[in-house]
């Protein structure tokens, strides 16, 4: 599919800190691309350069779907991590304003506002002031503000931070719906499990650099199916000592085992059957979390935790 946006070798330094250090990637049209990384990895800085808030020190941001200089930024809908709205404004006024600064004419926007308010079940709050809304509703209003001008690329920075489980599901479903409607979504998150559920493609950033890039299947495939999930009854402590097991995390009656290179899962099963009642035995690809740790190295992560 066609690419919509290309980030080419961008760098950004704040004082002595190299926040983004030569990041390149492309976003394909009609996909959900997950921009992953820990807090402080450089995700938000990268996004701010895409949205034109920061100018990159070097490198470029290119809009590949049609021309038009900097005007492409009106084709982007951006939900910042730090969310905020004018508290004194009425919902409908605020949404009109947000669409207007994206270049929409007010008369074209009013219908869309009602459509979106309907969709988010906020119609009764149309004339309320923002400060009167609950936190969840205010976040929905901001999300509407992000989508109102019908952007081609939707950039969401940690869209689920601060959401309750119900709203998290709501956002997840919305993203899937938007993709079905043909939108392109760039999603930044540090929650790997969430990204796993939503993203088609992932870009993994660590210390201002891309460490891994590709479709979710590609990325996982490259790591092979070498993770065993076992649910059992009995004492599973011995699993960690098996020669086939490289790394184990055992919690009560379930275990997640990373297999050593060339090890056969069948042997683990044989060793387990005499000592445990097996309820589930599944050979899977590793989780993004594991891939991330494997890629970056547990030592560097541990060291980072210490230095922080």
């Amino acid at each position: 599919m066609a690419e919509i946006l290309a980030v080419r070798d961008v760098r950004k330094t704040f004082g002595a800190v190299r926040a983004v250090d030569g990041v390149s990637f492309t976003v394909r049209s009609g996909t959900i691309t997950g921009l992953l990384g820990r807090n402080g990895a450089g995700k938000t800085t990268t996004i701010r350069m895409i949205t034109g808030i920061f100018m990159p020190d070097s490198g470029s941001i290119e809009w590949l779907a049609g021309s038009g200089g900097n005007a492409f930024r009106d084709r982007i809908g951006y939900l910042p991590e730090e969310r905020g709205l004018y508290k004194q404004m009425k919902v409908v006024e605020l949404l009109l304003f947000l669409a207007e600064i994206k270049g929409c004419r007010p008369q074209d926007t009013r219908k869309k506002i009602d459509h979106w308010l309907e969709r988010f079940e906020l119609m009764d709050k149309r004339e309320s002031k923002i400060e009167e809304l609950s936190k969840g509703n205010a976040q929905k209003v901001q999300l509407i503000g992000t989508l109102l001008h019908d952007p081609d690329l939707i950039i969401l920075d940690e869209p689920q931070s601060g959401l309750d489980p119900v709203n998290m599901v709501l956002v997840r479903n919305l993203l899937h719906d938007l993709r079905k409607e043909g939108k392109t979504i760039l999603l930044s998150t540090h929650m790997m499990a969430e990204a796993e559920k939503m993203a088609d493609e992932i870009i993994l950033i660590h210390r201002g650099q891309v460490v891994l890039e590709g479709t979710l299947d590609q990325v996982r495939g490259s790591f092979g199916r070498n993770t065993l999930h076992i649910d059992f009854e009995g004492d599973g402590a011995f699993l960690a000592q098996l020669p086939q097991v490289r790394k184990a995390s055992i919690l009560g009656t379930s275990a997640e085992l990373s297999l050593a290179e060339g090890a056969d899962a069948q042997e683990v099963l044989q060793a387990s059957v005499p000592r445990l009642r097996i309820r589930r035995f599944e050979l899977m690809s590793p989780s993004l979390e594991e891939i991330f740790i494997a890629k970056v190295g547990a030592e560097t992560l541990a060291a980072e935790v210490v230095t922080r």
């Binding site: 910042p80 905020g84 709205l85 004018y86 947000l98 270049g103």
Partner: protein, 451 residues
């Protein structure tokens, strides 16, 4: 352009709908008028009744402090009669004000004047609710008529009641003069005419040779308009600063900057706020116009000698408009910088305080400027950037400065505003996204260079 307009529209509507705006717009002119009028009224009325003992060592001044019976009002049918009446009014010796009661004591017989005064001085320090409490004791020694070296004394609790003291002194002196002249053979009947002070009429001569009377009113107008010029600039400057800080604390700014350029944002804001100010002026000018028209007709009907239109000249309205906008934009730019580099309202207030004190210098210097509008320091202030708009306007109301003063002042102001705007936009670009520590001056300089 449309985006800037959207920002402007939002700023304008949000500000104009606020209660504080409506209240200030409708009440400020009245408040300012009251602020000017009330102290004057209090001064004129005095602070309540005063009971004063006059101890007269000469024993001949009783008539000076007696309240004469009100002379019957003559019907004045012709202009000559009215003029004659006015002269008679002026020629009357100084009168005892109605709220003053004098207890006259003839002390010519007492051997020891100081000793005789003692009980009266005691009453001066009596409790407030005592029936015979005195507010003042005025001592006129025996030698007052004959000896020019004699000193009279006035005792009171405050020693700052110079209005009362001055009044009593004039009354005593007028009588003493009369007696001395009489002693030298001058007919008491002509003494009053001989002693009459002639009044002075202040005439403002304009460059074009036009003469205007009643400059005292100009004085009040200068203060009134000066306040109307400076107050909104401060209030809406603060409002702008608060708005910017709030956009930062409410984290709205990131959405804004991803949609509009900082320049569009700043321009929209400042133009929006200026439009708010203009709305206010239009309301005020209308109000002043209506009141002026009303007062004008009332005065015309009362056949008053003062023509109000000579103070509210149309050109003053024009100057007010021009200098209001200039002062406004200057202040708002400075406040916008404050808002961009500070992270909380409190911090911003503290940061702006010394800067604002400096910028308000013309206000603190209003009195000397109004009294010496052609002095070099007044001219300097009126031409200088930042201070110019207010000082120049005040000068324009009380005198008529040459055209080149106006041109230099306005030109420099516009240049200053453009420079401020440029710097503000640069600082704005970086400042609005920097949370955390407030930048130091060198850091600010770097922002201006880099952005």
């Amino acid at each position: 352009m449309n985006k800037m307009f959207a920002v402007m529209k939002r700023e304008y509507l949000q500000a104009v709908r606020k209660k504080s705006f409506i209240i200030m717009t409708l009440l400020l002119p009245f408040l300012m008028a009251a602020l000017l009028a009330v102290p004057g009224l209090i001064m004129a009325k005095g602070m309540g009744k005063k009971r004063i003992a006059v101890l007269d060592g000469t024993g001949r001044l009783e008539s000076a402090f007696a309240r004469p019976n009100e002379p019957p009002k003559e019907e004045q049918t012709d202009a000559a009669g009215a003029a004659r009446n006015a002269v008679m009014q002026r020629n009357r010796p100084p009168q005892l004000p109605s709220q003053m009661t004098v207890e006259y004591v003839n002390q010519s017989q007492s051997a020891n004047f100081d000793e005789a005064a003692k009980p009266y001085l005691k009453r001066l320090t009596a409790r407030d609710d005592a029936a015979d409490k005195l507010e003042g004791v005025f001592l006129i020694p025996k030698t007052a008529v004959a000896d020019a070296e004699t000193r009279m004394s006035y005792y009171s609790r405050s020693a700052t009641d110079f209005m009362t003291q001055e009044r009593l002194t004039r009354m005593a002196n007028r009588s003493l003069h009369r007696m001395r002249l009489a002693a030298n053979g001058i007919d008491p009947a002509v003494v009053d005419t001989l002693l009459q002070d002639l009044p002075v009429e202040a005439v403002q001569l304009s460059r074009s040779g036009e003469r205007k009377k009643g400059g005292e009113l100009n004085f009040a107008m200068a203060f009134l308009f000066g306040a109307m010029l400076i107050l909104p600039s401060l209030v809406y400057g603060q409002e702008t600063m608060r708005g910017i800080v709030q956009e930062k604390t409410d984290r709205v700014v990131e959405v804004l900057v991803s949609s509009v350029s900082p320049m569009q944002l700043l321009t929209g804001k400042i133009v929006g706020v200026a439009a708010v100010g203009l709305t206010q002026i239009v309301v005020w000018v209308t109000m002043v116009g209506l009141i002026g028209a009303f007062a004008g007709t009332t005065l015309a009907m009362a056949d008053a000698p003062i023509n109000l239109s000579q103070f509210i000249r149309p050109i003053i309205g024009f100057y007010f408009f021009v200098f209001y906008i200039l002062a406004y934009l200057t202040y708002v730019c400075v406040y916008a910088i404050g808002g961009a580099i500070c992270n909380s309202e409190k911090e911003a207030q503290q940061f702006m305080m010394p800067i604002m004190m400096l910028m308000m210098a013309p206000w603190f210097l209003m009195m000397p400027i109004v009294m010496n509008p052609e002095a070099p320091f007044a001219i300097g202030f009126s031409l200088a950037p930042v201070f110019g708009p207010i000082t120049m306007f005040v000068r324009a109301t009380v005198t008529d400065p040459p055209l080149w003063h106006f041109l230099v002042s306005i030109g420099l102001s516009i240049l200053t505003i453009l420079a401020f705007f440029w710097v503000t936009a640069k600082i704005f670009r970086i400042g609005i996204l920097s949370y955390g520590k407030r930048p130091t001056i060198p850091e600010l300089m770097r922002w201006v260079r880099v952005a």
